[in-house]
Amino acid sequence: MRKHTRSAILTVASLLSVLVGAEVAARAWLPAVPPDAHTWPRAEIGQKLEQIDAYEERGEDMDVLFVGSSQMAASTNAQLFTEQTGLSSYNAAFAGPSMRTVGRWTLDVVEPKLSPDVVVVGIASRDSNDRSRKNKKVHEAFLSSPGYRQETASLASEFEGWLEDLSVFMRYRRLMREPATFLERTEDELGEQEVRMAIGERGLRLVEPVDYRFRLAGQRSLGKGTLGNFKTGGREYRAVVEMHDVLEERGVEMVLVNMPLTEDYLGAHEDVVAEMTSYRDFLADIVAATGVPFVDAEKAFETPKAFRDLLHLDVEGRDAFTEAFAQAWDDISGDAHLLMECTNKPMPECDLHPAP
């Protein structure tokens, strides 16, 4: 064998041994994690996408698609909606996003797979804050996630996705970029248990009922996080209008729902009167610009009894909210403007009727 050839073989062998060694070390040291666990900023997105892909593979289109943040994820029971209306539906909402992220998720990922006739968009003031650093961070994490890049299917992102499926080292490399945090985590924390949640058919979050409990820390966190530096409009406004325009081009109707809130949530606003006025103007502008049916459920519940926390309905509240929606479904069209009102005695019951 010539000297150069032997030298090249030795170099390449040594190089490969470093790469293989890193992979072996990662497999030995790190817990086995499903390939999708860190593909999206939240495992919930990956889990719902698995279901959505399964519906798509079976050729099951949805009549109604629910999208939004955790409020919509927690507040709508798509299984119940389907039972009551006979319309197939799916709740694709997940925790964290504001409207700009919901727009990309809906238009680029979910709608093309499920081909719904109607998309119901849940919104609250937190989703309208154009200056929220948290909203920006969530959006950037979503757009730069391997999952989104693979779904939007550039060659490079498909290649990256293939590498991550193949290699534990590649799958964990983002976590390893924060060495101090990474070393502090236990295997369980890194593993499946922490990141995956229980999700039933049609994207239903499977949760046990809990009593409402006010948490000051939660209110402060909301105030400093998504509601901080509050200013409506801009990218968040454009995202909703774009979502409507693109859906309309695709022959899909859109419905906008102002989601139910507690008084404690409103208390997280620094200047609740000015900021909520600005938010309601934001909604009015969207409705005027798009002409979508609008359901206002913001003050549907007078007390927080039907909620789990500041902004998420509990199981009974969720089902009452969904039933009201299902019963009034035929009225939610054209330029309808409906108001939701609920009672809490003895169980939550809600009713949708035309706004005065």
Partner: protein, 470 residues
């Protein structure tokens, strides 16, 4: 199309395969097409500007070369330089000049209402304009015969491995290489070219991008963060800008070497400098030597006495600062470097010519002092406004305590250690590709570690190079 993207890897590979299948003239046609495609991938609208500037300098070069009348030659030179600088001034500095003039008028009590023009900066304009000027100057000074081929000249200006962010090539270095037949690179040249690409990607992805978030966070927080966080932030930016720009330069040289064309080095371990003069001989060498030869020397250099020398240093560095960007922060950054250079010279300091020597233990204090000074001045370079820079420095020197992000601290320390190891290795051996001289198993392991680090920090959207904005 970034060097650190798969799109560029595919583009460069296809161009390279076709390139070595062609004859010289066809090779240059291919290089020009590839370079214009590369540029169009950024913004096709400015391709016509690039071609226009190439045409102006090509015609001016012919005019200078063919005339024996010094006045005519000078007119051609002045015309070429004026047009180049006017294009640069219009696209890069118009807004800055208008804003500054308006600020001045407001200061004296007037309320001007100027027309608003949103001018987009053509990518790479500062680099290719300076490179074009070297051609006109070198032909005028009879250091270089004018090229008679527009194709060759256009390739010289637009050559894609370096056109966006340098290294700025002298006409008398690059143009002859484009004009003469090229031989296929040897195995050694291919290996060293590939190694430079891997090393460049390592510096960009595993050093610069790794600490970019640390610097961004610190500069976003400003004085609301504790002094320790701001100190880590400024160290992070020092490492980021070095890794980013040196990484780009290494990639450019590596890619170009595969095409059989050698580009000049742009960095010689600048953070091992023992004084500010040595720093400027080792940092962004292609720009600092351009400023020396085409600005400092024509201004008189050090031939007019001490005061004239200091004036020339200040002017050169002020304009060097302004070259980086149309903002007062860059002007102040350049001015402060000019001041440090003048002070160093005033105290009899100098830097040795040629390649800097290997540092000794006794040099450690002066190296640390130089690094500290340079890093503090990076605050002006990195800040969006003067107010932000002052706020940052105020916070840094307020010596307030605050929580320190241990992830950030570890990233900066590891990155600093990697830069130190790489630069010391290069400085001691005098070889940028010293790894290739090691025994095959160690060489393979070292390259494996570099590739592993790049893989670890890869993914998501490729981060653009900082100097692309200039």
């Amino acid at each position: 199309m970034l060097f650190n993207s798969l799109e560029f890897a595919a583009f460069a590979s296809i161009t390279l395969i076709l390139y070595w299948m062609l004859r010289l003239r066809d090779q240059n046609v291919l290089l020009l097409i590839a370079s214009y495609l590369f540029y169009s991938a950024w913004d096709w609208r400015f391709l016509s500007l690039l071609i226009f500037q190439s045409l102006v300098d090509y015609v001016a070069g012919l005019g200078i070369g063919r005339s024996q009348d010094e006045r005519v030659r000078k007119r051609y030179l002045i015309a070429a330089i004026t047009i180049n600088l006017m294009v640069l001034a219009t696209f890069k500095y118009f807004g800055f000049f208008v804003d500054s003039a308006m600020g001045l008028l407001r200061w004296i009590g007037l309320e001007p209402n100027p027309p608003l023009l949103e001018i987009i900066l053509p990518i790479g304009i500062s680099f290719y304009t300076f490179q074009s000027i070297t051609y006109s100057f070198d032909v005028y000074r009879r250091r270089l015969p004018p090229t008679t081929s527009f194709l060759n000249y256009a390739v010289f200006v637009a050559y894609f491995p370096h056109m966006i962010a340098g290294p700025i090539q002298r006409a008398n270095h690059l143009l002859p290489q484009i004009e003469r037949p090229r031989t296929r690179p040897t195995g050694q040249q291919v290996r060293s070219g590939l190694f430079l690409i891997v090393m460049g990607l390592f510096k960009k992805v595993a050093i610069a991008d790794a600490v970019a978030g640390v610097a961004n966070e610190a500069f976003r927080m400003g004085s609301s963060a504790g002094s320790a966080t701001l100190l880590i932030g400024v160290a992070a930016f020092s490492l980021q800008i070095y890794g980013d720009f040196a990484g780009y330069s290494d990639c450019a040289r590596g890619v170009s070497r595969l095409f059989g064309i050698e580009l000049t080095r742009n960095f010689e371990q600048p953070y091992l400098s023992r004084n500010i003069t040595e720093f400027w001989r080792t940092w962004h060498i292609s720009l600092s030597s351009w400023l020396h030869d085409y600005l400092y020397i024509p201004l008189g250099g050090n031939q007019g006495g001490k005061l004239v020398t200091y004036r020339n240093l200040m002017l050169t560095m002020l304009l060097g600062g302004l070259w980086h960007g149309a903002s007062w922060t860059f002007v102040i950054w350049g001015g402060l470097h000019g001041l440090l250079l003048s002070v160093h010279r005033a105290f009899g300091g100098h830097a040795q010519r040629g390649r800097p020597s290997t540092p000794r233990w006794r040099d450690v204090p002066s190296i640390l002092a130089t690094f500290t000074g340079v890093s503090l001045l990076w605050v002006f370079f990195r800040s969006g406004t003067l107010t932000q820079a002052i706020d940052y420095l105020g916070g840094l020197f307020s010596f307030t305590s605050g929580p320190v992000n241990s992830n950030h601290l570890i990233l900066v320390l590891v990155s600093a250690l990697m830069v130190l190891i790489l630069d010391l290795g290069q400085r001691i051996t005098g070889d940028h590709s010293v790894v290739l001289r090691w025994s095959p198993p160690i060489r393979g392991a070292a390259i494996g570690v570099l590739i592993l680090s790049v893989l670890m920090w890869s993914g998501g959207d490729a981060q653009p190079f900082i100097y692309f904005q200039f």
